[in-house]
């Protein structure tokens, strides 16, 4: 089940100390969630890892068990009694090490379990917190730890052959679209997933072309160019804050009123919902996903779209954007405007299954075998729609489906909604 437990050189080698610290940090809300579980096991029926493997260890609430144990022992009402009579043992290092596989390799943080819990527990939020504890205990997977550390220092998860700023300008030239960068003043600040810069330049061009068409004053900022946040995946709360701070500072620097999140799921969660809390006060600008933004522009009549000819389409709802973020209608409005014939999957919208790559799992090598096994649940559902084209609005989903296409020699390839919109714009914009 687990090839090797990777000890990443995190803060404290002292696992129990990290756990104790974690348990004592728990606030009223998380404590209430840990208190409410009645061990009914229903959350397993929402999780694609359990559905595909029928392996009880993948029960979502089970992933939180050591932290529930630590909470009961350290800061619950009867903690002194638990300690005195030894009802709850201290969480040990090797016990926690077992949980790396459960909390990272087999959890996309997709939040589907939180919808099924009869007690209403937000299991996904507990898992997110548990990843913080794992990181504190030095048990984050090495790939995620490395990318988070690198991004915390340099602003990008890996070092790139060429600076992303130059690659961005090259894309502009290649696709013949203006790439506004480092403008001192702009209404909207843009950023892109580094995945798009390297693997899907057409996505970056599409973003620029749409903004150009809408004639909105916007700019990229080279010091806040990358949308992803590996601190979020690795559970490194402090690093997640530093990474988000870069984008926040840049947005403030250029006086933007809107920070536009590109087609990237977890970036939306990190910036739309968690950045302000880490920042400690309200952000002086609004944060919008590009899909959401375009739907508003469409409704406002500023965005004009042509009828997109072509075969039937099925849409993969990115979990972080749709289920956890609430951007459910926007993509469908855009598709309707282009009168694209949408063939919904059996589980779609807020209930869609995850693409299996989310939560940083796509980056964890040792998680790959299990991930491919779980992938079949999603692929079967996509094939069942009978629609030949797969569309999504998240680069990690796109990357995961591409990887699956190679692995399974699958007859479908993921396409970006933004690119579809960009290729069906009607009237040319009035120029920059």
């Amino acid at each position: 089940m687990k090839e090797g437990i990777v000890e990443s050189p995190a803060l404290g080698a002292n696992v129990a100390g990290a756990m104790k610290g974690f348990a004592q940090e728990i606030g009223a809300l998380s404590a209430f969630r840990l208190e409410s579980c009645i061990h009914c096991g229903i959350c397993a029926d929402a999780c694609h890892y359990y559905i595909a493997t029928e392996d009880p260890q993948y029960t979502p609430i089970w992933k939180v068990e050591p932290f529930k144990q630590a909470y009961k022992r350290e800061s619950s009402a009867f903690a002194p009694l638990f300690r005195l009579f030894g009802f709850k043992r201290e969480v040990t290092a090797d016990q926690l090490a077992q949980w790396q596989h459960l909390l990272f390799d087999s959890c996309n943080m997709c939040g589907r379990c939180s919808l099924i819990c009869p007690m209403g527990i937000d299991v996904a939020a507990l898992i997110e917190q548990s990843r913080h504890a794992m990181f504190e205990a030095g048990l984050a997977p090495k790939e995620l730890y490395a990318k988070a550390a690198h991004q915390q220092l340099t602003g990008q998860p890996e070092s790139s052959v060429e600076p992303y700023r130059d690659q961005l300008l090259a894309i502009g030239v290649r696709f013949g679209v203006s790439m506004p960068i480092d403008k001192p003043q702009a209404e909207v600040m843009l950023c892109v997933p580094r995945t798009d810069i390297e693997q899907y330049p057409s996505g970056v061009a599409a973003l620029a072309r749409v903004m150009e068409n809408l004639g909105i004053s916007c700019t990229f900022r080279s010091d806040g160019l990358i949308a992803e946040n590996y601190g979020y995946f690795a559970g490194a709360k402090e690093w997640q804050r530093v990474i988000s701070l870069r984008l926040i500072d840049q947005a403030i620097a250029c006086g933007a009123t809107t920070l536009l999140i590109p087609e990237c799921g977890h970036a939306y969660t990190a910036l739309r919902w968690e950045a302000a809390d880490l920042y400690g006060k309200e952000l002086p600008f609004r944060v919008l996903s590009v899909t959401e933004f375009l739907a508003d522009e469409l409704k406002a009549g500023r965005l004009k779209l042509a009828k997109a000819a072509g075969p039937k389409v099925t849409f993969q709802d990115p979990c972080q954007l749709v289920r956890k973020g609430g951007v459910t209608e926007a993509p469908r409005e855009l598709l309707k405007a282009m009168s694209v014939e949408l063939q919904e999957m059996e589980n779609h919208g807020g209930f869609s299954f995850c693409c299996n790559g989310g939560g940083g799992v796509i980056d964890i090598k040792q998680a790959a075998p299990l991930r491919y096994r779980i992938m079949e649940v999603k692929m079967r559902e996509i094939d069942a729609t009978g629609a030949p084209t797969l569309l999504t609005t998240c680069s990690d989903c796109r990357r995961t489906f591409d990887d699956a296409q190679v692995h399974f020699n699958w007859d479908k390839k993921p396409n970006s909604l933004l690119e579809l919109v960009a290729s069906n714009l009607l009237e040319a914009g009035t120029g920059p």
Binding site: G21, Q24, E25, I26, S30, S75, A77, G280
Partner: protein, 371 residues
């Protein structure tokens, strides 16, 4: 009163009184029916009684209100007269016998001496052991001693009434005379408790007749009461049970429910916890029984029924009420106190949690970390 005829068989005695064979079968059938025995037992009893010797019976009364004896003499079937003259020879009964004073005492001594080991001792009333038995004496002799002497030669002791069976009113809190039921004093003799305050007449005579005809102690429940009469609860035999099952309850003694004869559970009826034959044998020759006449059963055949709270508070209600104070007020006070205590403990626990957070934050001087 001199014993009429010594050890003459019962059948012979009947013929002397001009009672025909069919008359005697009728008498036994009525007795069997009173004792809730299966109907075919009547003729069988008649057959067996023909040649059974008439046992001698001694009736001793201690600390009692003579209610049981009144009930005993009100027995309709078999009537007390037929019992005394035909089936048993009641050799001593200070209430019925004409003799008194020394004559009565000597009659008692003679009866005990002549039939030593064979007579049936019937007792009503509890035995006060307080003040050296001084609370109840007859002829200078305390009840306790009289009981002990009488018990020596008794073949069996039938305790009539809740007083002799379980101590009854004298035994109820505070029990000033330190009264005891018979079974607490005598343990070496077979005891049959015919509890009730008073017991149903037919139950007393029926039990006596059952002992006389079979010569054996009938099978008893754990309170030594004959299962023939005390086997089921009033509730199980009550004719108002359908109303209990349908949920139709009288709320007050003269509301529409009471007039329609609905179940009296809400008015404190103790039927469900009381084992007796009132619902079938009924009282006053089958006329009716407390519930049929509109009042709940007060559970008079159960031990300590005087101390089980108000006769009118429902069986399932708790009655914490200290004098004059209602239970709900006490529940409120108890809950308030407990909640306050819980809150203090909760504050302590949450407080120490926050204190730890404060201490762990400040040395690092980083942003407040919590979730």
């Amino acid at each position: 009163m001199q014993p009429l005829v010594d050890n003459v068989a019962v059948g012979e005695m009947l013929r002397l009184h001009g009672i025909s064979r069919r008359g005697f079968i009728k008498f036994c059938t009525a007795a069997a029916s009173a004792m809730a025995l299966p109907p075919w037992m009547g003729p069988a009893m008649a057959q067996q009684l023909q040649n059974a010797p008439r046992p001698s019976v001694i009736y001793l009364s201690f600390q009692e209100c003579t209610g049981c004896f009144e009930s005993f003499t009100r027995s309709f079937a078999p009537t007390i007269e037929s019992l005394i003259f035909n089936v048993i020879s009641l050799d001593y009964d200070d209430t019925l016998m004409a003799a008194a004073g020394d004559a009565a005492e000597s009659a008692l001594a003679k009866a005990m001496h002549d039939n030593f080991g064979k007579y049936v001792l019937i007792i009503d009333g509890s035995v006060p052991t307080g003040a050296g038995g001084g609370y109840c004496t007859a002829g200078g002799k305390s009840a306790v001693d009289t009981l002990r002497d009488a018990a020596k030669g008794a073949a069996a002791i039938i305790c009539v009434g809740t007083c002799s069976a379980f101590g009854g009113i004298p035994f109820a809190d505070p029990n000033p005379t330190d009264a005891w039921p018979i079974s607490a004093i005598i343990s070496d003799k077979p005891i049959i408790n015919v509890s009730g305050c008073p017991p149903i007449p037919e139950v007393i005579t029926g039990t006596l007749l059952q002992y006389v005809t079979t010569g054996k102690v009938p099978d008893l429940d754990e309170h030594l009461r004959p299962k023939a009469f005390f086997g089921t609860t009033i509730h199980d035999r009550c004719y108002r049970r359908p109303f209990y099952d349908q949920g139709k309850f009288a709320k007050t003694f003269d509301d529409e429910g009471a007039r329609n004869g609905w179940c009296l559970y809400e008015l404190g009826c103790k039927g469900p916890t009381t084992y007796n034959a009132c619902a079938t044998t009924k009282w006053n020759g089958g006329t009716s029984f407390p519930i049929e006449s509109g009042h709940g059963c007060i559970g008079c055949s159960e031990p300590g029924f005087w101390d089980k709270g108000s006769l009118y508070s429902p069986l399932s209600a708790t009655d914490w009420g200290k004098a004059g104070e209602s239970s709900p007020r006490q529940v409120l006070e108890l809950a308030a106190g407990a909640i306050a205590g819980g809150a203090v403990l909760g504050l302590a626990s949450a407080g120490s949690g926050r204190l730890r957070q404060y201490r762990s934050e400040h040395p690092l001087d980083s942003e407040p970390k919590d979730s």
